[in-house]
């Protein structure tokens, strides 16, 4: 169990770090600032929550459906990650914002939604029990 928690948190942290640098690069290159709407702490917290939930889901699926659990979990994880993009598309900025600010937000936030998925699968081999 301890190993799983370390795995969940470390993959969440990795996703958070990658998201932070990706976000920083987009904001610098496209001269936009989303720090008000998406604080750095929120990025890290949501990444860690995402990978924690993924770890719990993976444990449930592989425990109760030993043969197909791994595959079903992978499909569901990918599906939910993609579905979470709806949140980005529907995001409404409060106050005065330019349309460029609203559109650039899509290329700022959408890739970030995939980072927990990628980080989780990247670190998974390191924490797998032999």
């Amino acid at each position: 169990m301890r190993k799983k928690i370390i795995f969940a948190i470390s993959s969440g942290l990795l996703a958070g770090v990658v998201s932070y640098f990706y976000g920083d690069m987009i904001q610098t290159q496209l001269v936009e600032d989303y720090s008000k709407e998406v604080p750095t702490m929120a990025i890290f917290i949501s990444c860690i929550i995402g990978t924690l939930l993924a770890t719990i889901g993976h444990w449930i699926f592989t425990k109760f459906i030993p043969k197909l659990g791994e595959v079903i979990f992978g499909i569901i994880f990918a599906g939910l990650t993609t579905a979470s993009l709806v949140g980005v598309l529907g995001f409404v900025f409060k106050g005065e914002t330019t349309e460029a600010h609203q559109y650039i937000f899509y290329c700022y936030a959408m890739p970030m939604h995939f980072f927990p998925f990628l980080a989780w699968y990247s670190l998974k081999p390191l924490f797998e029990s032999k």
């Binding site: 598309l89 529907g90 409404v92 106050g95 005065e96 349309e99």
Partner: protein, 172 residues
């Protein structure tokens, strides 16, 4: 003496015409209901208004549909599309007053509101506060979007949309 009389008559006729106001850049036109909210960032028009002489008052406004801003890029594009405002075909929402009257709360402008190719007579209540050579017109009213064929009836957005226009203006 003749020219003095001419200037005097000209002055009298100009002053009886009413006070012209120029809308300042800090204007704000917002719309909202429980489902959607946003602003129209581009408004132009002419204001002739003297609270002491309402018979000469006139309010004409033009809102550029393209300037709609809901805070979401995709929603903006959708709002400008043919299902909603059809900005390409109907680029402006226009109001032209025919009569301005005093009310207990302030004033009301009666006139034609044209939107999405439909023109209807509406009454817009508003207040006016003056400070030196500047003044602020604030109008709050509701529009039923389905009466103007804006969006489909019974879709995700409620029919009644509350409009608030805050127009700071400077005496011309």
């Amino acid at each position: 003496m003749k020219s003095f009389r001419f200037i005097f008559i000209l002055f009298l006729s100009l002053s009886s015409y009413g006070q012209g106001w120029k809308i300042l850049e800090t204007h704000k036109v917002t719309f909202s209901n429980k489902d959607v909210s946003g602003t129209f960032d581009d408004i132009s028009g002419t204001i002739v208004f003297d609270s002491e002489n309402l018979s000469t008052a006139k309010l004409n406004f033009k809102l550029k549909v393209e300037s709609i801003n809901t805070g979401n890029g995709l929603q903006n594009k959708h709002a400008r599309g043919d299902e909603w405002f059809h900005a390409e075909k109907y680029p402006y929402i226009e109001f032209e007053s025919t009569k301005i009257e005093k009310t207990d709360a302030g004033f009301k402008a009666i006139g034609k509101l044209q939107m999405h190719g439909v023109s209807k007579e509406v009454t817009i209540p508003f207040t006016f506060s003056k400070k030196g050579s500047k003044g602020t017109f604030i109008a709050k009213f509701s529009v039923n979007r389905t009466e103007y064929n804006v969006g489909k009836k019974g879709n995700d957005v409620a029919d009644a949309i509350k409009i608030t226009a805050t127009l700071p203006a400077q005496k011309k």
